[in-house]
Symmetry: C2
Subunit: 311 residues, 2 copies
Amino acid sequence: VLAAPKKLLVDFGMRRAHGAEAAIMAARATHLAGFDGTSTVLALPMFGIPIYGTMAHSFVQAHDEEARAFERFAASRPNNAVLLLDTYDTEAAARTVVELFLRSRIPRPSAVRLDSGDLARHARNVRAILDEGGLADVDIFASGGLDEHRVAALLGEGAPIDGFGVGTAMDTSRDAPYLDCAYKLVEYAGRPRRKLSEEKATLPGRKQIHRLYHRHGVMMRDVVTVEGERCEGEPLLVPVMRRGRRLEPPETMEALRRRARHQLDRLPPALRSLEPASAYPVAISPALRALIESCPAGSRRAPPRERPKAK
Amino acid sequence: VLAAPKKLLVDFGMRRAHGAEAAIMAARATHLAGFDGTSTVLALPMFGIPIYGTMAHSFVQAHDEEARAFERFAASRPNNAVLLLDTYDTEAAARTVVELFLRSRIPRPSAVRLDSGDLARHARNVRAILDEGGLADVDIFASGGLDEHRVAALLGEGAPIDGFGVGTAMDTSRDAPYLDCAYKLVEYAGRPRRKLSEEKATLPGRKQIHRLYHRHGVMMRDVVTVEGERCEGEPLLVPVMRRGRRLEPPETMEALRRRARHQLDRLPPALRSLEPASAYPVAISPALRALIESCPAGSRRAPPRERPKAK
């Protein structure tokens, strides 16, 4: 989303996701994060996510001639055909598309898709063939082993690509396949609790996170405080359930997408980069520090103190 | 399974799996591969997989004193308590277990669990404390960020550990989060079909795989043949469905586990190692090579030939 602003971005990852449930959740997560849609069809009835699809290699292969496959596919989607060019020879297929169009054997396709080889080179060749053939308004869509770095590199070298299908690297979270966090008990029976396991110690007690912003709206730092402690900044944690019931109706997908976009916009520039950045500053408040001190390492007893007054 | 022969191995990965479905399938896959069981409880009613659990840090933290947590947990599982030692101080907790046992406050636990810090050092310390306290038959179970390399290293340095809980690295397939394979069309309407995309070309036609073994039963190499072609070795592909119906009832979990164990035993030694090995040899048969030649690159036409006679 950050690497390809204003490009069409489609989740193509279902076949590599860790099961059908993971694929559906990936379609939802990527749409929230700014993707335009997904090729996972069930995401439309479940979440209202737009579906994008293109033809498959098997559709081309099921025909004795590629041109017949293009004709039939275009006839079945006269207003929105995306023709796949790389089953046999990408540039030859682009010339076939132009020829079919000029001979009125197919309506104007909305896009063509490249799925293998040097995508930047093929995109340039195909763009020239299409432009020369009167198909300058046909988009070029690319897929095939893409991730954010590859997308940024393709756009960086000026490849004439209008949209990307991203699958495996995203749906399997290839470079970060898990998040090292877990539920931990921090309060029980009205008392703060603390786990002291080596390199796994937790911060005790109920908390609030306050986020501070620069004057122009960019995030500056967060402060982890004890709940009820006074602190400047925007409190981030709000109750969403009480006694097993949600307090508000679910937000719409559009509201969730708007918030994600707004928060991406307010990320510090270093954190919007694909390159490793220094960590975002997170501080511990004085009251939380005092609470940690009162749960010293090795005590094996919870401290007999009341938790700070809750709101 | 190969790195820790004869140790108790338990899938602990549910919380990090890519959803509930992925967690259940990981419990099944790891049990097939040789794990003894899982902490994912639903795997018992669904697949008959044995369930192993230990106490949680939150159970210890919910008590004002660790000793009370041990007493209550042991009372709830008098025949099979696994006590978690590292919530505050591992060695101190081991001494607490001995003291509780000697004062008859708890029955003999079946094991203790270590979940943080230098697991080899803690295992040695805890082993000594338990042995000295008359608990030489209490097992030591380790968990916490383990993978096959860490397990092999712990056993290699002689750590007295009797079993391992392995989670995140396995259920998320951290080092290999996806398998780069896909369904491809190779025959349609009685004719072999071939995709020629750059670096993604496929082998056309219906196939059989023949596996050849050394005289002592270890796998030697595979040959990919055209279906019906004569070839020495064991044919691996058998029909499991026809006209949308399975041909045989599903195999039992025990039969599946037996086959996995048998096949692991027959892997070449280099492929049983945790270190990278040279690839297992896979050859293309003469008839398949001829079929490839008859679908030359760039033709964009399927060759007009009959597929070899099927069985």
